[in-house]
Protein backbone atom coordinates (compact mmCIF):
# COMPACT_ATOMS: atom_id res chain seq x y z
CA UNK A 1 0.00 0.00 0.00
CA UNK A 2 1.28 3.42 -0.81
CA UNK A 3 0.22 6.48 1.02
CA UNK A 4 -0.90 9.00 -1.60
CA UNK A 5 0.44 11.88 0.47
CA UNK A 6 3.88 10.38 0.32
CA UNK A 7 4.09 10.19 -3.48
CA UNK A 8 4.90 13.15 -5.72
CA UNK A 9 3.42 12.60 -9.15
CA UNK A 10 5.38 13.71 -12.21
CA UNK A 11 3.20 14.22 -15.31
CA UNK A 12 4.18 13.98 -18.96
CA UNK A 13 6.57 16.79 -20.01
CA UNK A 14 6.87 17.65 -16.32
CA UNK A 15 9.60 17.64 -13.66
CA UNK A 16 9.52 17.71 -9.84
CA UNK A 17 11.98 17.87 -6.97
CA UNK A 18 11.54 15.90 -3.75
CA UNK A 19 13.18 15.68 -0.38
CA UNK A 20 12.52 12.20 1.05
CA UNK A 21 9.15 11.63 -0.63
CA UNK A 22 8.81 9.10 -3.46
CA UNK A 23 8.65 10.47 -7.00
CA UNK A 24 6.49 8.60 -9.47
CA UNK A 25 5.65 8.90 -13.17
CA UNK A 26 3.09 6.76 -15.00
CA UNK A 27 2.91 5.10 -18.39
CA UNK A 28 6.29 5.85 -19.97
CA UNK A 29 6.30 4.64 -23.57
CA UNK A 30 8.73 6.36 -25.91
CA UNK A 31 9.23 8.96 -23.17
CA UNK A 32 12.16 8.66 -20.77
CA UNK A 33 11.90 9.06 -17.02
CA UNK A 34 15.13 10.37 -15.49
CA UNK A 35 15.86 10.61 -11.76
CA UNK A 36 18.86 12.63 -10.59
CA UNK A 37 19.64 12.26 -6.89
CA UNK A 38 21.90 13.16 -4.00
CA UNK A 39 21.65 10.36 -1.43
CA UNK A 40 23.55 12.29 1.26
CA UNK A 41 20.81 14.90 1.24
CA UNK A 42 17.93 12.50 0.51
CA UNK A 43 17.17 14.80 -2.38
CA UNK A 44 16.03 13.83 -5.87
CA UNK A 45 14.45 15.24 -9.00
CA UNK A 46 12.53 13.43 -11.71
CA UNK A 47 11.69 14.48 -15.27
CA UNK A 48 9.28 12.80 -17.74
CA UNK A 49 10.97 13.66 -21.04
CA UNK A 50 9.10 13.46 -24.38
CA UNK A 51 11.61 14.70 -26.94
CA UNK A 52 15.39 14.64 -27.35
CA UNK A 53 16.27 18.20 -28.31
CA UNK A 54 14.76 21.63 -27.57
CA UNK A 55 16.45 23.01 -30.70
CA UNK A 56 13.82 21.14 -32.76
CA UNK A 57 10.96 22.82 -30.89
CA UNK A 58 8.43 24.96 -32.73
CA UNK A 59 6.71 26.08 -29.54
CA UNK A 60 5.98 29.74 -29.01
CA UNK A 61 6.66 29.30 -25.35
CA UNK A 62 9.15 26.55 -24.63
CA UNK A 63 8.15 23.97 -22.03
CA UNK A 64 11.69 23.17 -20.88
CA UNK A 65 10.58 20.02 -19.05
CA UNK A 66 9.61 18.40 -22.34
CA UNK A 67 13.10 18.08 -23.84
CA UNK A 68 16.08 16.05 -22.63
CA UNK A 69 18.62 18.89 -22.86
CA UNK A 70 16.64 21.60 -21.05
CA UNK A 71 14.86 19.30 -18.56
CA UNK A 72 18.07 17.71 -17.25
CA UNK A 73 20.00 20.98 -17.07
CA UNK A 74 17.14 22.59 -15.13
CA UNK A 75 16.83 19.58 -12.83
CA UNK A 76 20.51 19.88 -11.86
CA UNK A 77 20.12 23.60 -11.17
CA UNK A 78 16.97 23.05 -9.10
CA UNK A 79 18.67 20.33 -7.02
CA UNK A 80 21.64 22.64 -6.36
CA UNK A 81 19.26 25.40 -5.30
CA UNK A 82 17.73 22.95 -2.81
CA UNK A 83 21.15 22.32 -1.29
CA UNK A 84 22.22 19.32 -3.36
CA UNK A 85 25.92 18.80 -4.00
CA UNK A 86 26.61 18.21 -7.67
CA UNK A 87 29.60 15.99 -6.97
CA UNK A 88 27.20 13.53 -5.30
CA UNK A 89 24.69 13.52 -8.14
CA UNK A 90 23.84 10.19 -9.72
CA UNK A 91 21.11 9.18 -12.14
CA UNK A 92 18.74 6.32 -12.92
CA UNK A 93 16.70 6.24 -16.11
CA UNK A 94 13.85 4.22 -17.64
CA UNK A 95 11.61 4.17 -20.71
CA UNK A 96 12.38 4.87 -24.35
CA UNK A 97 10.33 2.02 -25.80
CA UNK A 98 9.09 1.54 -29.30
CA UNK A 99 5.45 0.75 -28.57
CA UNK A 100 4.38 0.01 -32.14
CA UNK A 101 6.25 -1.98 -34.74
CA UNK A 102 6.24 -0.26 -38.10
CA UNK A 103 8.58 -1.13 -40.92
CA UNK A 104 8.73 2.45 -42.18
CA UNK A 105 11.46 4.88 -41.27
CA UNK A 106 9.25 7.58 -39.76
CA UNK A 107 11.56 9.23 -37.21
CA UNK A 108 8.63 9.63 -34.82
CA UNK A 109 8.51 5.85 -34.44
CA UNK A 110 12.18 5.76 -33.39
CA UNK A 111 11.68 8.59 -30.91
CA UNK A 112 12.15 6.29 -27.88
CA UNK A 113 15.64 5.31 -28.91
CA UNK A 114 16.53 8.92 -29.72
CA UNK A 115 15.26 10.03 -26.30
CA UNK A 116 17.44 7.43 -24.56
CA UNK A 117 20.53 8.42 -26.57
CA UNK A 118 19.96 12.10 -25.79
CA UNK A 119 19.47 11.52 -22.05
CA UNK A 120 22.63 9.38 -21.83
CA UNK A 121 24.68 11.96 -23.72
CA UNK A 122 23.45 14.93 -21.69
CA UNK A 123 24.00 13.19 -18.35
CA UNK A 124 27.51 12.33 -19.51
CA UNK A 125 28.15 15.97 -20.45
CA UNK A 126 26.92 16.98 -17.00
CA UNK A 127 29.33 14.41 -15.44
CA UNK A 128 26.47 12.58 -13.75
CA UNK A 129 26.98 8.79 -13.71
CA UNK A 130 24.04 6.56 -14.67
CA UNK A 131 23.85 3.92 -11.93
CA UNK A 132 21.10 1.84 -13.53
CA UNK A 133 18.78 1.93 -16.49
CA UNK A 134 15.82 0.00 -17.83
CA UNK A 135 15.30 1.22 -21.38
CA UNK A 136 14.10 0.11 -24.81
CA UNK A 137 11.86 -2.82 -25.64
CA UNK A 138 8.27 -2.57 -26.82
CA UNK A 139 6.33 -2.10 -23.57
CA UNK A 140 5.26 0.69 -21.22
CA UNK A 141 6.70 1.38 -17.78
CA UNK A 142 5.71 3.17 -14.60
CA UNK A 143 8.75 4.47 -12.72
CA UNK A 144 9.12 5.37 -9.09
CA UNK A 145 12.17 6.62 -7.26
CA UNK A 146 12.89 6.78 -3.55
CA UNK A 147 15.28 9.64 -2.62
CA UNK A 148 16.00 8.07 0.79
CA UNK A 149 17.52 4.79 -0.42
CA UNK A 150 18.11 5.60 -4.09
CA UNK A 151 16.01 2.69 -5.33
CA UNK A 152 14.08 2.82 -8.60
CA UNK A 153 11.06 0.55 -9.04
CA UNK A 154 9.74 -0.19 -12.52
CA UNK A 155 6.27 -1.67 -13.01
CA UNK A 156 5.05 -3.01 -16.33
CA UNK A 157 1.75 -4.44 -17.54
CA UNK A 158 3.13 -7.84 -18.50
CA UNK A 159 6.39 -8.35 -16.62
CA UNK A 160 5.52 -7.27 -13.07
CA UNK A 161 7.84 -5.12 -10.93
CA UNK A 162 11.60 -4.85 -10.81
CA UNK A 163 13.83 -2.90 -8.45
CA UNK A 164 16.97 -1.28 -9.82
Amino acid sequence: MENKDEVIRVGIADAKISRSKILKTYGLGSCVGAAIYDLNNELAGMAHIMLPDSAASREKQLNRNKYADTALTDLVKALEMEGGNKTNFKAKIAGGSQMFQFSNTNPVIRIGQRNVEAVIEILSNLNIPIISKDVGGNYGRTMEFNPVNGMMIISTAGKGKIQL
Binding site: A13, Y26, G29, E59
Partner: protein, 206 residues
Protein backbone atom coordinates in the same frame (compact mmCIF):
# COMPACT_ATOMS: atom_id res chain seq x y z
CA UNK B 1 -2.33 27.91 -32.47
CA UNK B 2 -4.47 25.60 -30.41
CA UNK B 3 -4.87 28.21 -27.68
CA UNK B 4 -6.53 30.60 -30.09
CA UNK B 5 -8.72 28.21 -32.07
CA UNK B 6 -12.23 29.59 -32.51
CA UNK B 7 -15.59 27.99 -31.78
CA UNK B 8 -16.33 27.99 -35.48
CA UNK B 9 -13.24 25.97 -36.23
CA UNK B 10 -13.91 23.59 -33.37
CA UNK B 11 -17.43 23.04 -34.73
CA UNK B 12 -15.97 22.16 -38.11
CA UNK B 13 -13.57 19.65 -36.53
CA UNK B 14 -16.48 18.18 -34.57
CA UNK B 15 -18.37 17.74 -37.83
CA UNK B 16 -15.35 16.01 -39.35
CA UNK B 17 -15.20 13.66 -36.36
CA UNK B 18 -18.92 13.03 -36.76
CA UNK B 19 -18.64 12.06 -40.42
CA UNK B 20 -15.64 9.82 -39.84
CA UNK B 21 -17.03 8.07 -36.77
CA UNK B 22 -20.38 7.48 -38.50
CA UNK B 23 -18.61 5.70 -41.36
CA UNK B 24 -16.60 3.61 -38.93
CA UNK B 25 -19.85 2.71 -37.15
CA UNK B 26 -21.37 1.52 -40.43
CA UNK B 27 -18.32 -0.67 -41.10
CA UNK B 28 -18.47 -2.15 -37.61
CA UNK B 29 -22.17 -2.81 -37.98
CA UNK B 30 -21.58 -4.68 -41.25
CA UNK B 31 -18.74 -6.64 -39.68
CA UNK B 32 -20.77 -7.75 -36.65
CA UNK B 33 -24.06 -7.83 -38.52
CA UNK B 34 -25.63 -5.91 -35.65
CA UNK B 35 -26.82 -2.45 -34.71
CA UNK B 36 -24.06 -0.15 -33.50
CA UNK B 37 -24.65 2.93 -31.37
CA UNK B 38 -22.50 5.96 -31.82
CA UNK B 39 -21.89 8.55 -29.13
CA UNK B 40 -21.85 12.07 -30.51
CA UNK B 41 -18.12 12.56 -31.07
CA UNK B 42 -16.44 15.22 -29.01
CA UNK B 43 -13.54 17.45 -29.75
CA UNK B 44 -11.11 17.88 -26.93
CA UNK B 45 -8.57 20.66 -26.56
CA UNK B 46 -6.43 19.40 -23.71
CA UNK B 47 -3.00 19.54 -22.11
CA UNK B 48 -0.57 16.71 -22.81
CA UNK B 49 -1.13 15.31 -19.32
CA UNK B 50 -4.91 15.16 -19.89
CA UNK B 51 -4.47 13.72 -23.38
CA UNK B 52 -2.94 10.51 -22.04
CA UNK B 53 -5.82 10.19 -19.56
CA UNK B 54 -8.69 10.32 -22.07
CA UNK B 55 -9.42 6.60 -21.90
CA UNK B 56 -9.33 6.13 -18.14
CA UNK B 57 -5.90 7.07 -16.80
CA UNK B 58 -2.25 6.74 -17.82
CA UNK B 59 -1.88 3.28 -16.26
CA UNK B 60 -5.16 1.89 -17.62
CA UNK B 61 -4.50 -1.23 -19.69
CA UNK B 62 -5.84 -0.84 -23.24
CA UNK B 63 -5.77 -2.77 -26.49
CA UNK B 64 -4.89 -0.41 -29.28
CA UNK B 65 -4.24 -0.50 -32.99
CA UNK B 66 -2.38 2.51 -34.33
CA UNK B 67 -2.73 3.72 -37.90
CA UNK B 68 -0.54 6.59 -39.00
CA UNK B 69 -1.97 9.03 -41.51
CA UNK B 70 0.15 10.85 -44.06
CA UNK B 71 -0.72 13.13 -46.97
CA UNK B 72 -2.32 16.59 -46.84
CA UNK B 73 -3.74 15.72 -43.43
CA UNK B 74 -1.31 13.92 -41.12
CA UNK B 75 -1.78 12.40 -37.71
CA UNK B 76 -2.36 9.26 -35.68
CA UNK B 77 -5.53 7.25 -35.33
CA UNK B 78 -6.05 4.82 -32.45
CA UNK B 79 -8.61 2.04 -32.39
CA UNK B 80 -9.11 1.15 -28.71
CA UNK B 81 -10.86 -1.75 -27.01
CA UNK B 82 -10.84 -3.08 -23.44
CA UNK B 83 -8.25 -5.89 -23.36
CA UNK B 84 -10.55 -8.24 -21.45
CA UNK B 85 -13.06 -8.04 -24.32
CA UNK B 86 -10.57 -9.04 -26.99
CA UNK B 87 -11.54 -12.71 -27.14
CA UNK B 88 -15.27 -12.04 -27.34
CA UNK B 89 -14.78 -9.29 -29.86
CA UNK B 90 -12.64 -11.26 -32.25
CA UNK B 91 -14.91 -14.27 -31.94
CA UNK B 92 -17.92 -12.24 -33.03
CA UNK B 93 -16.21 -10.09 -35.60
CA UNK B 94 -14.20 -12.81 -37.30
CA UNK B 95 -15.50 -16.11 -35.95
CA UNK B 96 -12.12 -16.85 -34.39
CA UNK B 97 -11.28 -18.29 -30.99
CA UNK B 98 -8.48 -16.99 -28.83
CA UNK B 99 -6.87 -20.44 -28.87
CA UNK B 100 -5.34 -19.60 -32.23
CA UNK B 101 -1.87 -18.07 -32.22
CA UNK B 102 -1.01 -14.57 -30.97
CA UNK B 103 0.22 -13.71 -34.42
CA UNK B 104 -3.08 -14.70 -35.95
CA UNK B 105 -4.88 -12.65 -33.29
CA UNK B 106 -2.79 -9.56 -34.00
CA UNK B 107 -3.23 -9.93 -37.71
CA UNK B 108 -7.04 -10.23 -37.48
CA UNK B 109 -7.31 -7.40 -34.94
CA UNK B 110 -5.18 -5.19 -37.18
CA UNK B 111 -7.36 -5.97 -40.15
CA UNK B 112 -10.59 -5.14 -38.28
CA UNK B 113 -9.14 -1.82 -37.11
CA UNK B 114 -7.93 -1.18 -40.63
CA UNK B 115 -11.45 -1.60 -42.02
CA UNK B 116 -13.02 0.70 -39.40
CA UNK B 117 -10.35 3.37 -39.46
CA UNK B 118 -10.06 3.06 -43.23
CA UNK B 119 -13.73 4.05 -43.64
CA UNK B 120 -13.24 6.95 -41.23
CA UNK B 121 -10.19 8.17 -43.12
CA UNK B 122 -11.62 7.83 -46.61
CA UNK B 123 -14.84 9.60 -45.56
CA UNK B 124 -12.74 12.41 -44.16
CA UNK B 125 -10.64 12.59 -47.29
CA UNK B 126 -13.77 12.70 -49.49
CA UNK B 127 -15.40 15.39 -47.34
CA UNK B 128 -12.37 17.67 -47.24
CA UNK B 129 -11.00 16.91 -50.69
CA UNK B 130 -7.60 16.48 -49.03
CA UNK B 131 -5.37 13.46 -49.62
CA UNK B 132 -4.94 11.04 -46.70
CA UNK B 133 -3.03 7.76 -46.78
CA UNK B 134 -3.09 5.23 -43.98
CA UNK B 135 -0.10 3.20 -42.84
CA UNK B 136 -0.26 -0.51 -42.12
CA UNK B 137 -1.88 -1.02 -38.69
CA UNK B 138 0.11 -2.01 -35.62
CA UNK B 139 -1.23 -3.58 -32.39
CA UNK B 140 -0.15 -3.02 -28.79
CA UNK B 141 -1.72 -3.99 -25.48
CA UNK B 142 -0.27 -1.86 -22.71
CA UNK B 143 -0.71 1.15 -20.41
CA UNK B 144 -2.74 3.96 -22.03
CA UNK B 145 -0.07 6.56 -21.27
CA UNK B 146 2.65 4.62 -23.02
CA UNK B 147 0.44 4.05 -26.08
CA UNK B 148 -1.28 7.42 -26.50
CA UNK B 149 1.93 9.39 -26.00
CA UNK B 150 3.10 7.98 -29.35
CA UNK B 151 0.36 10.07 -30.97
CA UNK B 152 1.49 13.21 -29.14
CA UNK B 153 5.10 13.37 -30.25
CA UNK B 154 4.52 15.56 -33.31
CA UNK B 155 1.98 17.82 -31.57
CA UNK B 156 4.25 18.24 -28.55
CA UNK B 157 6.88 19.93 -30.72
CA UNK B 158 4.37 22.73 -31.35
CA UNK B 159 2.50 23.18 -28.10
CA UNK B 160 1.58 21.82 -24.67
CA UNK B 161 -2.00 21.60 -25.89
CA UNK B 162 -3.40 19.08 -28.33
CA UNK B 163 -6.67 18.58 -30.18
CA UNK B 164 -8.24 15.14 -30.07
CA UNK B 165 -11.26 13.97 -32.08
CA UNK B 166 -12.85 11.45 -29.78
CA UNK B 167 -15.42 8.99 -31.13
CA UNK B 168 -17.04 6.08 -29.31
CA UNK B 169 -18.97 3.14 -30.74
CA UNK B 170 -20.95 0.77 -28.63
CA UNK B 171 -22.71 -2.46 -29.40
CA UNK B 172 -24.15 -5.31 -27.38
CA UNK B 173 -22.48 -8.70 -27.76
CA UNK B 174 -23.91 -12.21 -27.55
CA UNK B 175 -23.28 -12.32 -23.79
CA UNK B 176 -25.35 -9.17 -23.30
CA UNK B 177 -22.37 -6.95 -22.51
CA UNK B 178 -21.33 -3.90 -24.46
CA UNK B 179 -18.28 -3.65 -26.63
CA UNK B 180 -17.07 -0.09 -26.23
CA UNK B 181 -14.72 0.95 -28.98
CA UNK B 182 -12.92 4.27 -29.02
CA UNK B 183 -11.63 5.76 -32.22
CA UNK B 184 -9.32 8.65 -31.43
CA UNK B 185 -7.79 10.91 -34.04
CA UNK B 186 -4.78 13.02 -33.08
CA UNK B 187 -4.23 15.31 -36.09
CA UNK B 188 -0.76 16.83 -36.40
CA UNK B 189 -0.87 20.61 -35.85
CA UNK B 190 0.21 21.40 -39.42
CA UNK B 191 -2.96 19.76 -40.73
CA UNK B 192 -5.45 22.15 -39.17
CA UNK B 193 -4.71 25.16 -41.32
CA UNK B 194 -5.01 23.00 -44.45
CA UNK B 195 -8.42 21.74 -43.35
CA UNK B 196 -9.73 25.22 -42.51
CA UNK B 197 -8.38 26.73 -45.71
CA UNK B 198 -9.75 23.97 -47.91
CA UNK B 199 -13.18 24.20 -46.31
CA UNK B 200 -13.19 27.97 -46.39
CA UNK B 201 -13.25 28.68 -42.67
CA UNK B 202 -11.40 31.92 -42.05
CA UNK B 203 -11.31 34.27 -39.13
CA UNK B 204 -11.55 38.01 -39.65
CA UNK B 205 -8.03 39.21 -40.18
CA UNK B 206 -6.70 35.95 -41.61
Amino acid sequence: MTDTISEKKLDLLKEIGNIGTAHAATSLSQLLNRKVDMEVPTIKVVDLSEAIEVVGGAEQLILSVLIQITGDIEGNMFFILKPDQKNDFIKEAAGLKWTESEEMFASVMNEIANVLCGSYISALSDFTGLAMYNSVPSLAIDMAGSILSVGLVEAAMHSDQVIILDGMLSTGNAAGENFDIFILLFPDPNSFDKIFKKLGVYEIGE
